[in-house]
């Protein structure tokens, strides 16, 4: 067992268990904390792949921005009470059944597509350093420049929308 494999198993265990705890924790604040840990472990996976750029962006966006947003919302709503009622038994059974079905179907699809296992290509070429990714992302001719610009528009629209939606309605007064 190589060191890398051991790290993978440890990270995977952390990822899965915290994801599980996120869903099963009855206190939403706890869920949020578990989710942060889960996201960090996923960033660890990215680092394992040597995808430094994504790991950084992931930590900034998810662990930083999105989690802060979630926590603020939770505190705003004052939802840290454990007052949630469980769903009816039938619904829970249905949920378990459909999740198992999804899991089985997805796994069978991926495994039937028979990815080459064991011997993996190594071109030796640098394809994922921040420098190269930046070129791929912003190259005008065969890169992703136009989608990149559209993403900025999307974020702007989302920002305006969020402000507009969460604004207190003054018209009633």
């Amino acid at each position: 067992m190589s060191t890398v494999l051991i790290i993978f198993y440890v990270l995977s265990a952390v990822t899965l268990s915290t994801a599980f705890m996120t869903i099963f924790s009855r206190n939403p604040i706890h869920s949020a904390i578990y989710l942060v840990i889960c996201f960090f472990s996923i960033a660890g996976h990215y680092l394992l792949f040597n995808a430094q750029f994504l790991a950084l962006v992931h930590i900034i966006v998810y662990s930083g921005a999105i989690m802060i947003l979630l926590l603020f919302t939770l505190m705003l709503m004052n939802l840290n009470k454990e007052d949630e009622v469980h769903k009816p038994r039938l619904t829970r059974l249905g949920a378990v059944f459909s999740v198992l079905a999804t899991c089985g179907i997805l796994l069978s699809i991926f495994l039937r597509s028979k990815p080459i296992m064991g011997d993996y290509d190594t071109t030796g070429e640098d394809y994922q350093s921040i420098k190269v990714l930046g070129k791929v992302l912003l190259d005008q001719d065969n890169g992703f420049m136009i989608p990149f610009e559209f993403v900025s528009v999307l974020l702007l629209v989302a920002m305006i929308g969020a402000v507009l939606l969460s604004k207190k309605e003054n018209s009633a007064k």
């Binding site: 619904t91 949920a95 459909s98 079905a101 999804t102 179907i105 997805l106 597509s113």
Partner: protein
């Protein structure tokens, strides 16, 4: 050059129609009438050019505009055929058309919808031209339907009167029956000969390779039904007398001179087909003769001046069909032309009378108009002499030729035709005496306003009367310009020349004496004894039957209209109820299903998500898992 001119010829009236229908109100009455007349005069001028051309070159002109329909080896071109027959026809269609347009300017001047009247007249001329110069049966059919439409529009021109609307509908429906026959005929011709182009058909038939006798006979029957509908032959003639509901210029143009002769035109166009179907020819001759006699007898007792002329038209058309049935096509054409002259003149004259009497059409309330309206009187007198067949006016020559042909073909038909001619002389002079002689029988008010019509009305009358007088010159026995002219159109026909032997002179004498007897009886009865037909209820015996037109309308009503009405009622009351229940059943089922389906929309997001996940699984398994 020829293409352009042909387009001008046909599109000028259409242009007039568009201008009048869209801008007629703004143009004002005089301008609208002037445009309508001018466009037809343009057509006439172009026709004249072509006509003079063809008399010199003797060459038919074929104009092909574009491929119209092409289905494997069956091709229909959109084109015109300007040959001897169609140019001859166009000459009097556009010529008389222009005169009648001119007449209408004055006649319709008091009508608020005058621009519409001219629009319809122009449209009629457009369709009539396309009927005549179409290079194949389909274009002729377009014109055929178009003139039917215009006839409907113009009969019902005074649409505020329900009787007129009914007359228009009757004409339209009667024509539809005939049109169906024509359409079936076209289908059969297309099926048998693989072409419907006149020139090609003629080539094929004259080559003599086609001996599919049964189908040709059926096609000829179907085409004859079409002709009978349009040209008002038994049993489809009842619409024409009712069509007199339209304004009088319409009666003159459409229901006397041009449209009703379309059937004769069509049969002459396809004479080579009818020559191959002798049975149908016999039927045509017999039907023509009977129509001629029946209509003439009805005309004997009618009191409405236009009804007399209408039945006279039916009767004359019957004579033309008699000639067609005898295979004497050029004689039928000859009679069509002379008839167009004198009948148009008679109708326009009656219009002049009606105009002077402020829309009085009943001859019992006329009389003594001779002094007040000398021009109308003289022109109508000439035309009446012409239609009665008095030497040497136009009608004498053409009618005589028909009777001679009938005599050589079948003496019985000759007897029938001669009887019809004698009746014709009688009822025409009955009309003349009742209208123009003795004392005026109308109201004092009308008497004060009696006047000769203005020049715009009398000019066409004079022109037509002159033509009715000298029109016979185009085909004198023994030296017929018309036969000579039409000879290239009938390449396989020998020149039918009645040698002027003893028989012919005797026949002529008999016809003339017959006509004189008819006139004499009319003179004795209506001039000498000054008889006036009594009120409607006073008719008895035969004259009652005749006055009620042999009750044909009533018989048709009982045989066709009432059963169809009953059938329709049955369908409405029973079949439609069942069908509705069936159709509405679909709606009810869909309604019920969606009502049940609505219950799935619980509004619970959890449930929606569950369905969503199941659906997701289903879709990806369908897409990616091959079973």
């Amino acid at each position: 050059m020829d293409t352009t001119l042909a387009l001008v010829l046909i599109l000028a009236p259409l242009f007039g129609f568009l201008l009048n229908i869209f801008f007629g109100k703004q143009l004002g009455k005089t301008l609208s009438g002037a445009i309508g007349t001018f466009t037809v005069i343009v057509s006439f001028a172009v026709t004249l050019y072509f006509f003079l051309n063809i008399t010199e070159t003797n060459q038919a002109i074929q104009v092909k505009l574009f491929d119209w329909i092409a289905i494997s080896d069956f091709k229909v071109d959109f084109g015109f055929l300007l040959d001897h027959l169609s140019l001859l026809w166009l000459m009097f269609v556009t010529g008389i058309g222009a005169l009648i347009h001119l007449y209408s300017i004055s006649y319709m001047h008091d009508d608020e919808n005058m621009h519409k009247f001219f629009a319809y007249l122009n449209l009629f001329v457009f369709f009539m031209i396309s009927l005549v110069i179409g290079s194949n049966l389909l274009i002729m059919f377009i014109g055929w339907e178009g003139v039917g439409l215009c006839s409907y529009l113009l009969i019902g021109f005074w649409y505020k009167n329900q009787d007129f609307n009914d007359a228009a509908k009757k004409a339209f429906i009667m024509n539809r029956i005939g049109d169906l026959g024509l359409l079936v005929g076209i289908f059969i011709v297309g099926f048998v000969f693989k072409t419907i182009d006149f020139a090609e058909l003629k080539t094929i038939v004259l080559a003599g390779t086609m001996n599919n006798e049964m189908w040709i006979t059926i096609a000829a029957i179907a085409l004859f039904i079409g002709a009978a509908g349009k040209s008002a032959q038994i049993p489809l003639y009842t619409w024409l007398p009712d069509a007199m509901a339209g304004p009088t210029p319409v009666s003159a143009l459409i229901h006397a001179a041009t449209m009703v002769t379309a059937g004769i035109f069509m049969i002459t166009r396809l004479y080579f087909l009818f020559d191959l179907a002798p049975l149908v020819q016999d039927a045509i001759a017999i039907i023509g003769a009977i129509t001629s006699l029946v209509a003439a007898t009805i005309a004997l007792v009618q009191t409405d001046i236009k009804k007399v002329l209408a039945y006279s038209t039916v009767s004359q058309l019957g004579l033309m069909f008699l000639a067609l049935g005898m295979g004497a096509y050029e004689i039928a054409v000859f009679h069509v032309i002379t008839h167009a002259f004198f009948k148009a003149c008679l109708f326009l004259g009656s219009g002049s009378v009606i105009h002077a009497l402020h829309n009085e059409q009943d001859m019992r309330k006329m009389g003594g108009l001779r002094k007040a309206m000398p021009i109308t009187f003289i022109t109508m007198l000439l035309s009446s002499l012409a239609i009665s067949g008095i030497f040497p006016l136009a009608g004498f020559w053409s009618k005589d030729e028909i009777l001679m042909t009938a005599f050589h073909g079948n003496p019985v038909l000759w007897v029938i035709g001669s009887l019809a001619s004698i009746f014709t002389a009688f009822y025409m002079f009955r009309l003349m005496f009742l209208t123009f002689f003795n004392d005026f029988r109308g109201t004092e008010e009308q008497k004060k306003h009696l006047h000769e019509s203005p020049a715009l009305i009398t000019f066409p009358l004079i022109v037509l009367a002159i033509l009715a007088t000298v029109g016979g010159l185009i085909s004198l026995p023994g030296n017929s310009w018309l036969n000579h002219y039409l000879a290239p159109f009938f390449p396989n026909k020998e020149h039918i020349a009645h040698a002027l032997g003893q028989t012919e002179y005797i026949l002529m004498a008999i016809a003339t004496v017959g006509a004189l007897v008819g006139i004499g009886v009319a003179y004795a009865k209506y001039m000498k004894q000054n008889q006036v037909p009594g009120a409607d209820a006073t008719f008895t015996g035969i004259s009652k039957v005749l006055y009620n037109k042999y009750y044909v309308d009533e018989i048709y009503d009982a045989i066709f209209v009432k059963p169809i009405n009953a059938l329709s009622n049955f369908f409405r009351d029973f079949v439609e109820v069942g069908l509705s229940a069936f159709v509405f059943g679909f709606g009810k089922v869909a309604n019920e299903l969606s009502f049940q389906g609505k219950k799935l929309q619980t509004g619970s997001i959890g449930f929606y998500l569950f369905i969503f996940v199941i659906g997701f699984c289903a879709i990806i398994s369908y897409l990616f898992i091959e079973l």
